[in-house]
């Protein structure tokens, strides 16, 4: 099949991915991008120049051998492509969907300068979906059991990676998860229309088939302590991947009125508890008629797009300018297509409630861009006398997260930084003996793939420490695949 297509003239432009029509999708929770067909995938794959020095690889935090997997797709070997990716990335169907490719792999692609970077993420997604949908997933060979036990706390991307790596090396691995479902932010944060939950469950199932045990409803620091795991429970090592998970509020008057949510609560109700299918599912959610989401990041876009689907007239209130929004361009674009309106350079100062203590309006001031601050971004400054009230019946705070102290505060000997995040070295080793940590609880909110890369480093270090096997530089997320070299302007 590959040859046939290869006869066609190569396309120059990026192969677009079909999407649900904005008007239709704004009323459902089904996935927005529909995925490539086999023909589309091949057509896109043959655009890749198969660079001898593929800069794209350096842009990927886990150094997937990008030209190699793309070559398999170009030749029609889709399942092989998926296996190639899985050598370094256990969750390709997830990463192909949620990685900020435009600032990672695709940013480094040689064609990017012309705005025609290879659609690496879409191809990754295609390969993983093909393998899963055609039941071609093969379990890798596992090492003989080595008699060692590792406890993984949290089943987000970092924890899943550690569990997957160590189970293959012969460890007995148990994940302790606070919720009744696995996946961390993949399950409770990122909405269904961006990442179908069936995919997350299938990726977790793969680990379960490999032998990973999961204890749900188990809150480490409450149900069981870290020291208990290392002591009575006989674990040789504990890995902590509990994420950030503490909502930030603005600290303005009126924030405790009804109809004011943190993005965490709003998204958890909708995604994990499936409140969008109320009353089939029991958990209720405030739908709102006019909804305001405060913030300009990806989490804000996810919240706003959820609100649209629940039938609300939805606004984003952001105190800086559009160019300064931290959200991915694609997400902002999707949100606007679906009807989300932007109120930029607008800063909330107070929430006004009605006689029942329910939010009814947001008092805001207008801002203008002033001198750049340390980060180089122009600092917004208040325009005097610009105070005004905007009516909203649901307000969602999406201004970031802090470190949740539940586990860290109840675990002795774990060094934290001044913001409460766990201090760990590049291999995730913490100040506490036999305890490693990675992901958002170390770095603050980052990305799925970064949490996975950090998880892999921890797994390697645990293996070295417990079994005395020196780190395999070739499988390190820092190592480059095969004999590839990497030259980036910044010398990475």
């Amino acid at each position: 099949m590959g040859e046939e297509v290869a006869k066609k003239p190569k396309r120059k432009e990026r192969m677009p991915m079909p999407e649900q029509d904005p008007k239709v999708r704004a009323t459902n929770f089904k996935e927005v991008p529909l995925g490539y067909t086999e023909e589309m995938a091949i057509e896109e794959a043959i655009r890749c120049a198969q660079c001898k020095v593929p800069a794209c690889v350096c842009g990927c935090p886990v150094n997937i051998n990008i030209p190699a997997f793309i070559k398999e797709i170009a030749e029609g070997n889709f399942a092989e492509a998926a296996r190639k990716i899985k050598e370094t990335n256990a969750l390709p169907a997830v990463c192909g969907r949620v990685c900020p490719q435009e600032s990672q792999c695709e940013a480094q692609c040689v064609y990017n300068r012309m705005g025609r970077a290879i659609c690496i993420g879409r191809l990754e997604r295609f390969a993983a979906d093909y393998e899963r949908e055609n039941d071609l997933i093969e379990l890798p060979e596992k090492a003989q059991p080595n008699g060692k036990k590792v406890a993984v706390v949290g089943s987000g991307p970092s924890g899943l990676t550690v569990a997957g790596d160590l189970i293959q090396l012969g460890y007995e691995v148990t994940i302790f998860e606070a919720f009744h479902k696995p996946g961390g932010v993949l399950m409770y944060g990122i909405p269904e229309f961006r990442l179908p939950k069936a995919i997350v469950e299938s990726e977790v199932n793969y680990l379960v088939q490999l032998g990973v045990k999961i204890e749900y409803n188990s809150i480490v620091g409450k149900t069981v302590e870290v020291d208990e795991l290392l002591g009575e429970r006989g674990y040789d090592a504990v890995f902590i991947g509990v994420g950030a998970g503490l909502p930030k509020f603005l600290g303005i008057p009126g924030e405790n009125y009804g109809g004011v949510y943190s993005a965490n609560e709003y998204l958890t109700r909708s995604n994990l508890m499936k409140a969008y299918r109320f009353p089939e599912y029991d958990t209720p959610i405030v739908m709102g008629k006019r909804v305001c989401v405060i913030g300009g990041g990806n989490v804000a876009m996810d919240s706003a797009r959820t609100a649209v689907r629940l039938g609300a007239d939805t606004y984003i209130v952001y105190r800086r300018a559009r160019e300064q929004m931290p959200a991915r361009g694609e997400e902002i674009h999707h949100a606007e297509e679906e009807g989300v309106k932007m109120m930029l350079l607008t800063n909330p100062v107070e929430i006004i409630g009605d006689e029942n203590n329910m939010a009814k309006a947001l008092k805001c001031v207008k801002m203008e861009l002033g001198e750049p601050d340390e980060s180089g971004r122009s600092r917004p400054v208040e325009i005097e006398g610009s105070e005004h009230d905007i009516e909203f019946d649901l307000i969602i705070n999406s201004i970031g997260a802090n470190a949740n102290p539940l586990l860290t505060k109840s675990t002795e000997g774990l060094e934290l930084n001044k913001w409460g995040y766990i201090v760990a070295d590049e291999y995730g080793k913490t100040s506490k003996e036999n305890v490693w940590a990675a992901g958002d609880i170390v770095t603050g909110m980052a990305t799925v793939i970064e949490a996975m890369g950090a998880g892999r480093m921890s797994a390697m270090d645990i293996h070295e420490k417990i079994m005395g096997v020196p780190k395999n530089k070739e499988t390190s997320p820092e190592a480059l695949p095969d004999d590839l070299e990497c030259t980036l302007p910044d010398g990475k």
């Binding site: 009744h180 998970g245 909502p247 405790n256 009125y257 405030v286």
Partner: protein, 278 residues
């Protein structure tokens, strides 16, 4: 899966379930709570640890049927299992020798207050219990409460059992009589009952602990849904509480936040009742 070992209706609409949960039973202390989900489509609802048996590995919960989730729980039988049963959560009560302690229990609040009274009794306190309900049919665990109390006063709104009147009446009398000996007051029950108990004790200045029942999701400080205001500061009931100084709680806000989902809860319960033919 968390198996129900036994299940009974204590009094109309109030149920007691003993549940197999060995990990939680090892750790649970008076004042803590847990989160339960009846089934996969269920809501996560908080309930207090009403009792525990470390050896048998069981936890006892007592709940009142008010909405769909508690109705669902009431329909489950011994041998069935809950989909999720998570905890123990929150801070345990501070158990020490305060001298004399008054425990004020309103309605289903008897369940959470019982283990606290027992622990305080074991710590050497003199326990005065005021147990109240609307009428005699709604009084439960009277023997259990009596067994941990030095003085046990039963109150009903209609006088069908014990004294007629509200729990705040004997509370006031005791404080007038012996207020300076009372080291702490525990008041647990419906919001109005806790609020008025706190108002009653306020002029006397005795520390009055209440256990707030905010609406929760995760119970671990992750969502902020359980926010309340205490002494003008925002607190998360699940991780900062659930017990707070009743004199400092913003009761109006708590009450309003309880009513956020009123319409949806009603819809949910009506649908459920229609389906179940209730």
């Amino acid at each position: 899966m968390y198996e129900i070992i036994s299940m009974k209706e204590l009094v109309p609409d109030i149920f007691e379930a003993v549940v197999k949960a060995p990990e939680m039973a090892k750790k649970a202390k008076a004042g803590e709570f847990l989160i339960v989900m009846a089934d996969e489509k269920g809501e996560r609802i908080p309930l207090t640890v009403a009792d525990y048996d470390r050896e048998a590995g069981t936890i006892t919960i007592v709940f009142m049927t008010i909405g769909k989730s508690t109705y669902k729980l009431s329909k489950m039988k011994a041998g069935d299992s809950y989909y999720a049963f998570v905890g123990p959560l929150g801070h345990a009560s501070e158990i020490k020798d305060y001298g004399t302690v008054i425990c004020v229990a309103g309605g289903v609040g008897t369940a959470p207050i019982y283990p606290i009274a027992r622990a305080l009794k074991e710590a050497g306190n003199k326990i005065i219990t005021i147990q109240g309900a609307r009428n005699k049919d709604l009084i439960f665990w009277e023997d259990k409460m009596a067994s941990v109390s030095d003085e046990h006063i039963v109150m009903t709104d209609d006088g069908t059992h014990g004294r007629k009147g509200l729990v705040t009446e004997p509370l006031k009398e005791i404080l007038e009589r012996d207020g300076d000996k009372v080291g702490i007051i525990y008041a647990i029950g419906p919001i109005p009952m806790m609020k008025f108990s706190a108002l009653t004790s306020k002029p006397f200045g005795n520390l009055t602990m209440v256990s707030l029942n905010s609406i929760m999701v995760d119970g671990t400080g992750m969502c902020g849904g359980c926010r309340c205001e205490v002494k003008g500061e925002t607190k998360f009931t699940c991780v900062d509480g659930p017990e707070f100084d009743g004199h400092q709680v913003d009761w109006n806000l708590l009450g309003s936040r309880q009513r956020i989902y009123l319409d949806q809860e009603k819809e949910s319960l009506d649908n459920y009742k229609a389906e179940e033919g209730l």
